[in-house]
Amino acid sequence: MIRPNHTYRGYSMSEVGNQTIPATAKVVIIGAGIVGNCLVGHLARLGWTDMVMIDKGPLPNPGGSTGHASNFIFPTDHNKEMAFLTIDSQNQYIDAGLNNTCGGIEVAREPQRMEEFKRRMTSAKAWGIDARLVTPAEIKEMVPFINEDILLGGYYTPSVSVVDSLATGTKMREEAVAAGALQVFANTEVQGLETIDTPGGPQISAVLTDRGRIEAEHVVIACGVWSPRIARMAGANIPLTPAVHQMADVGPIDILQESNKELAYPIIRDMDTFCYERQSSGSMEVGSYAHRPILMRPDDIPSNSASALTPTELPLTYDDFDPQMEQAIELMEMLGDAEIRYAINGLLSLTPDANPVLGETVEVRNLWSAAAVWIKEGPGIAQLVAEWMTYGYPHMCDPHGSDISRFYPHEKTEWHINARCNEHFNKTYGIVHPREQWASQRGIRRSPFYAREEALGAVFFDARGWERPQWFESNAKLMEKYPEATKARTHEWDARWWSPITNAEHLQMRASVGMVDLTAFNEFDFEGPGALGFLQYMTVNSVDVAVGRSVYTPLLTPHGGFRGDLTIQRLGTDHFRVITGAFDGGRDNYWFRKYMPTDGSVTFTDRSQGLCTVGVWGPNAAATMAKIVTDSTTAAYDLSLTGFPYGAVRDVLIDGVPATMFRISYVGENGWEIYTQMEHGLKVWDAIMSAGEPFEIIPVGIGVYAVTGRIEKGYRLMGAELESEYNPVEAGINRPKVKSADFLGKAAYLAAREESPAAIMCTLSMDSQRCADGYDRFPTGGNEPILTLAGDRILDAKGRVSRVTTAGAGPSVGKYLLLAYLPPEHAVEGTKLQMMYMNENYPVTVERAGATPLFDPTDARMKS
């Protein structure tokens, strides 16, 4: 037997270099992609020092999604938060000198895409983006190699650019290093995260790496597609999935080579085939969102060393890409003879709702997520997270759409993530209606009334897993009763995910009585000797009310913007119940727990799973309830406004079943929210339904509750009118006095009260809904800009744009209503302005400036 007699120099990869990792740091940032790099830069600018950044890959391209990104920015987005962050990011790239403007054209092959372009023009107007619609001939002029014969037109944005995300990130990182604020360790793999138990729950304490252990006060996970794996090391959950985006670099192509430029031609987005073509010097990059969704698990991503290219550049699965090649050749014939030089299944991060996942994880204190971010919004989001970490909440814009705490537990399972990502992947370039409903993962949460509702022909909309009736087909017959208010909408877009039945339900409720399933509400109980003090600190309005009474109150961010709004019932001296909506329940749950005293003086119980809720409103609500409500004996209950005043909370029996009645309304009618245990729900529903029979009681959908009833009363909604960029004075819901107790955001709130508001929440009505084609349009309420009569968009003194936050019919006032913030000079009742919808301007009038409702301005129907 023989053996080699010298060391055989076989291949091995030394993973560990020579740098020594520090034992402690103020903050450890994991991930040196666009987000991590820009984050350390922004944190340094905000004064953070003693930072350590680690990445398992080499620099400057550690192998994540940033390294293979196509790097272009189309700034138009219908979503305000994402549009703001995208434009801000593009400006940061410009400041870095790494933004190459080439223009971009989204092209249409299908007629409905041309409609979408009108909508994009509207969003562009709102965000101040220069854009215009172009004809096929104009497209041909800009892009001579395109086949304009198959195009109907285009949406051209001159400011579309390609950025250098690696260089920008490197610059930001080096800025932090140069400031002495940061040490960087590449090729350093995270092996574990340590937490310590605190009275407030687990808190991050250290990062274990293959170079050693770093104790840290804060840890940020900016690991893109690997984020869930890293989070899991600490017991936290970052709900995203790696998914494939296919792209190929094809060339050389003569006309592109002859341009002698990196980018001589606008980027083409072939919207109806979900593909793009972007010049890259002498070749063309063709990318696709049209192929079948291909999802992976973070744990299955290969290591840097085992990857042929990088871990996120997997081999192209050609069969999935072939149809896109044919479509690309159809659009640009020259591509057919171009060679496929580089082709990948590139990994990017998808989340269940396609928004980023940002903020402190709900499971582990001081463990932050900055994940599921695209190149186009990376620097802006980095700044947003840096502000969040520094100030307790971002200043630059409201992050509620990206807030990691928005998710309910069922939304963070791999099952749910995959189902929703499989559903929305092909909508990346899709035309998504503002009211669009999910098809997957339905029926996750059902109220006890579900079977009755289904039998009544309920059309269910999803509210974070809850199935809520939007309207009831059983009420269709009412349309005959209210013909004027229930006319069909001519344009399919306006009528999509909508029914005229909603208006009939609205009028019938106002005429008699209706019942609304509100089981999606969250109920949080706070109990203990510290409960009052704690809640006083969290809320603007005093919760120190009599037992059995309630308070509506905003929650503020530290800098005085809206963080939440909700009602709080005082059920006992030391017992409070917070009622909040389905869409903000997760965020509110986190927010309260984050600030809860850790001395054991307050306990928190989430009662949401045990309670169901039905609202009963209308002129005959009291008469209906009077037939079935008793006290613990069989004695009839005093439901009069004197005996049971507005805002009061009472335990009663309904048809013998224990329930809690809360006299309040979000629709402007007399009535109650009625809470009972889930198991009693059906009995209560049936009792109310039969008691209301003589009054022709009807089930009423959320279309009334959330839109028509609410907008007539000018009630503000968190996430629409109420955002952290606005304060209670601007929203018009500040009270005459300020409570003496200190509370979160109080200083800013006091300051806001001293200055005149830069904008005021207004109710507007459309003077005419008639479009150029001669029929009425019904804006959906998706950030349509309010314009001056000259057609200019309106910015307030703080630079915020006036835009529609909610739109909807006001059947009782006979007008189509809009809510919008306006600067004081326009926030004057009777002022004539315009609003843009689908690229057409419509005349509007300011009906109300401030909180006074258009319908029943004195609230007589509710309170007298």
Binding site: Y11, S14, V250, P302, S305, A308, A328
Partner: protein, 255 residues
């Protein structure tokens, strides 16, 4: 001119190769597969030969059903016909592979006439057995030279083939039909065009199911290569390190 090119489907690994738990294969879960580099050049050479001299190129592989991908890749570059010798499970040993290919070639030739030139890669990127082409040529009774970096068809049934050695070029004058083992560097292979790719989906891949006995070499297990030990001495940063580098070169006696 009828040209046959024989290729092998191999993984395209990164900087490190991981072995599966059973030690019998490399972990290819997220690796691309490719044609062995020498054979990529052989395919290119086959396409160039028929571009220059007319005729038709055929590609053949013995491998799993997935090797269809490599056949179609060759087709996307201009090869007209493709033949798969499907096997199931682990790679076949070189003797068995060669026997199967030789049998298949005989079958193809009895149907359509002999191939003037049969090209192999010098050796496969993965197993590197250095023998399949030679065994096939011997079995067919045809001349073969390996290590070929230049092919010239001179006309009178002779092919002049160039091979590099340490002292220069060796030239062979071989009568057709001939078998050649090609090395990377003979040409710079083209990439497929989009049209080529789309066209390659339409070709029919013939199948010849091989049935031959195993040879005398049996793989037992795969092992990682020995680890290199020792730290890197950093001589310095940037141009300032030049003096230290030259000191080192002096010390090593290479100046």
């Amino acid at each position: 001119m009828r040209v046959l090119v024989c290729v092998k489907r191999v993984p395209a690994p990164g900087a490190k190769i991981n072995i599966t738990a059973d030690g019998l294969a490399i972990d290819t879960a997220y690796l691309a597969f490719t044609t062995s580099p020498h054979e990529e050049c052989a395919v290119e050479e086959a396409v160039r030969l028929v571009e220059q001299h007319g005729g038709e190129a055929t590609v053949l592989t013995l491998g799993p059903a997935e090797a269809d991908e490599q056949l179609r890749y060759a087709a996307s570059l201009g090869v007209a016909k493709a033949v798969l010798l499907p096997i199931v499970g682990a790679d076949w040993d070189p003797q068995r592979t060669a026997a199967a290919i030789a049998t298949a070639i005989a079958e193809l030739e009895s149907a359509d006439g002999p191939f003037d030139i049969i090209l192999f890669g010098n050796e496969s990127a993965d197993s590197g057995g250095f023998q399949v082409g030679v065994r096939v040529a011997r079995s067919l009774g045809r001349p073969i030279v390996n290590g070929i970096k230049g092919i010239e068809v001179v006309g009178d049934g002779t092919v002049r083939a160039r091979r590099e050695s340490e002292v220069g070029l060796e030239v062979y004058a071989l009568p057709t039909p001939v078998v050649l083992g090609v090395k990377e560097g003979i040409n710079l292979p083209r990439y497929p065009t989009l049209k080529g790719r789309l066209g390659s989906k339409k070709i029919e891949v013939g199948q010849i199911v091989p049935d031959v006995a195993a040879g005398g070499q049996r793989m037992v297990t795969l092992l990682p290569a020995a680890e290199q030990v020792g730290a890197t001495t950093i001589l310095g940063h940037g141009p300032d390190a030049a003096a230290a580098v030259v000191d080192l070169l002096e010390e090593l006696g290479v100046l």
